[in-house]
Amino acid sequence: MKLLLKFDFTKVCNAVLKQKLQAHQLKFRQTAFGEIELIDKASEEQLKVFYDDINSFGIEVIEDPKKIVIQKIKDVIVDMVFNERDIQVKTSVYLAEQLEENYNYLSNLFSEVTYTSIENFIILQKIEYTKILLTSEELSLTEIAFKLSYSSVAHLSKQFKNTTGITPSAFQRIIAKRKQIN
């Protein structure tokens, strides 16, 4: 039996984090997604054990302030794309609002650290979401284009091909064939 799963990453991450913090007996308060504040002071040693533990779940504690900002940008974008946030303003404005920073600053910082632009990252996420919708749900490309607020199917199709080098249908075909083999 095969099950197709769809994750609410925010919930999963929060749940894992909460469980781990409690396991290490750390009192905390969540201030935002991907940001917590420890209420009591913990020892270096205690923190190291905790870091190693959550590291195995792919959670990394970011100490570099730049990295913190980048992670926040990514979180906002992922949340925007995957939760299909209906945003009326331009993405740049939205990001600036959410992070309370100048967009140019964010954009430069992002490119500097990740070797890619915010725009590219957004496209990457959108295409990623398209991939998930294409393989996990019975949606046509037209429906997906509408869902992701693309002006036309051709536009999504073109962006998909530019990003991945293959057409959406080829992608669908390849994944379907892989599933058949496994």
Binding site: A154, S157, K158, K161, T167, S169, A170
Partner: protein, 592 residues
């Protein structure tokens, strides 16, 4: 095997036999009845005779009696005694004559009583007469009584005679009736017999005629068979299973290079001609045939006495519905030409296969081994261009540019050529595919140049077809990119794609197709078009209508289109007007 005609004959024969038996029976019965009647008549007469004799004898006795009474001479007693004896024997005879007639027996009894009384009367009168020589009263009385008794006897006899007469008449009547019918009856039977005989004769003659005709037909057929055996290099044989005897047709002898019927048709003799390499296999097959009473197609070679080797093929089957002995009917064919042709085809196929293999090997060489050095040349050139730019003179840089464009063209040629040969060798998997989807894919592939040229593509709803999807997609890509490439300067290209189902017989180019229906898909553009005279040439490999500098291209794109359409058993045609656009029409066959 009873034929209908046989059945008729048998019925006629049985009927005739029956009638004749009937006639015999009736005749016998009638004759015996006749002889019976004449015996009755004879008996009747002797009865009468006896009765009359009785009277006459009684009279003789009376005469003797009277004579004795008158004379007392014992001489008269002799005739009297004699008569008495006669009467007794007469009565005995009468007894035997009338034994079967109850009425007469009754009468005879009475007669016998009366006669007895008469004799008693005689005896009384004799005893009286002995005492007296004269007639006494008693005697007279006795005489009277004798007279009365005599009368009574007469009356009895008369009655008996009358009765006998009646019987005779009755008998005669009955016999006359019977005998009177006999000739008519015989005649009737005779007529019936004659009719049956006649029918049988007619039937027999017609049957005989039919038999004769079919004999002639059989003869013709046999001759034709012999001729056709010679012409078609075939022969026939029969194997009578129970006697294990063979019968070879003339041509079987010829097939093994011998004169017809020149040796005894046995398996052993035949085996002498079979190729020694095939003899064991053929033997096995024949043994199997003897067990299973069927010989599947068996091939073997025979060697003529002059050394010629021929390939023969034999087949045999048990003749079913045989009444008599079971037999196998066999055919042996000279299959030398067939085998030879097959060998040639096989050889050609092998050659073709080898050529194809060489072609795909070439394909590989072109794809990998040729492309690789070219790619390295290009890469090194790009290194030279960027890294060593400062060390190369201006003219040197021009040379580099020229080299770059030349190698780019070579690359394009190799790639296109590769694609062309791939349309030959790639897997040919025909799947039901939505053509709209393939067109969408083609458009996605070309999205950049479509947007760059602001091209508009108008398209009918396309059907679902059984195609090699990769190839049809390539076909669409090539046709659309062809239209995009040869568009008019500063005029946005418009490509119209239309579809309709057509009957093959209505279209000249496909009227000889084995398929009844075709999909007609037309790509029409508003580009620079071409002279109609080149309509066929443009599909040829490396054929270009324009100079390399005007329009880039290798002259392979449309050749690939043609190849793809041919792979799908279809036809592609081009129509163009200089400056008036071009249209490409594809006919692809399909089954409803």
């Amino acid at each position: 095997m009873p034929t209908p005609s046989n059945k008729y004959l048998r019925t006629a024969f049985i009927a005739g036999l029956f009638v004749i038996l009937c006639i015999g029976g009736f005749t016998y019965k009638h004759i015996s009845e006749l002889s019976q009647t004449s015996k009755v008549v004879k008996d009747n007469y002797s009865l009468r005779n006896e009765l009359e004799l009785i009277i006459s004898n009684l009279k003789d006795a009376e005469i003797g009696h009277r004579g004795f009474l008158l004379t007392h001479d014992s001489l008269f007693l002799n005739p009297y005694e004699e008569s008495l004896q006669k009467v007794t024997s007469n009565l005995v005879k009468l007894d035997t004559l009338i034994v079967s007639n109850g009425e007469q027996v009754e009468k005879l009894k009475q007669l016998k009583g009366d006669i007895n009384n008469r004799f008693k009367n005689f005896d009384k009168s004799f005893s009286l007469a002995n005492d007296d020589s004269i007639l006494t009263r008693d005697l007279l009385f006795l005489l009277h009584e004798g007279e009365i008794r005599m009368d009574r006897i007469r009356a009895d006899i008369t009655e008996m005679l009358a009765l006998e007469q009646r019987l005779l008449t009755h008998n005669q009547e009955v016999n006359e009736k019977k005998i009177g019918l006999t000739p008519l009856f015989f005649y009737g039977l005779l007529i019936v017999t004659l009719i049956i005989l006649l029918l049988a004769y007619v039937k027999m003659t017609t049957d005989l005629k039919a038999l004769k005709e079919s004999n002639v037909e059989l003869e013709i057929f046999e001759k034709l068979t012999k001729q056709s055996e010679i012409v078609s290099n075939t022969s026939t044989w029969v194997w009578y299973i129970e006697d294990n005897e063979f019968e070879f047709s003339d041509n079987l002898y010829r097939l093994i290079g011998e004169e017809p019927q020149s040796f005894e048709p046995t398996l052993e003799n035949f085996y002498n001609y079979v190729h020694e390499e095939d003899i064991s296999n053929l033997g096995e097959q024949v043994n199997m045939m003897m067990r299973e009473e069927e010989l599947p197609f068996t091939s073997f070679r025979v060697v003529h006495r002059d050394g010629t080797i021929r390939h023969l093929k034999a087949y045999s089957k048990l003749m079913d519905d045989t009444e008599g002995d079971a037999k196998m009917l066999g055919v042996t064919i000279d299959a030398t030409n067939e085998v030879e042709n097959y060998r040639i085809i096989e050889q050609r196929n092998q050659e073709l296969e080898r050529t194809n293999k060489e072609l795909s090997a070439f394909n590989y060489v072109a794809s990998h081994d040729l492309q690789e050095p070219l790619r390295k040349i290009q890469t090194f050139m790009s290194r030279l261009e960027s890294k060593e730019k400062d060390h190369i003179s201006e003219s040197g840089q021009v040379y580099i540019q020229r080299m770059k464009s030349a190698s780019a063209r070579m690359r394009m040629l190799i790639e296109d050529l590769l694609q062309y040969s791939r349309t030959n060798t790639s897997e040919k998997e025909y799947l039901k595919t939505n053509m709209n989807m393939l067109l969408e894919h083609a458009k996605t592939e070309l999205i950049d140049s479509i947007e760059e040229k602001h091209a508009k593509i108008i398209c009918d709803d396309l059907p679902t077809m059984e195609v090699i999807s990769f190839q049809i997609q390539q076909l669409f890509i090539n046709l659309i990119s062809n239209s995009l490439k040869y568009s008019k300067d500063k005029v946005p290209p418009v490509i119209e794609i239309t579809h309709q189902e057509v009957l093959s017989k209505d279209i000249n180019e496909i009227k000889d197709s084995l398929y009844k229906y075709h999909h007609k898909i037309t790509f029409k553009d508003n580009g620079i078009g071409f002279e109609q005279a080149y309509a066929e040439k443009i599909f040829l490999l490396f054929n270009r209508l324009h100079g390399k500098s005007e329009y880039s291209g290798t002259g392979i794109g449309l050749a690939i289109c043609k190849k793809i359409v041919e792979n799908h058993k279809g036809v592609i045609m081009a129509e163009g007007h200089p400056n008036g656009g071009a249209s490409f029409t594809i006919y692809l066959p399909f089954l409803k």
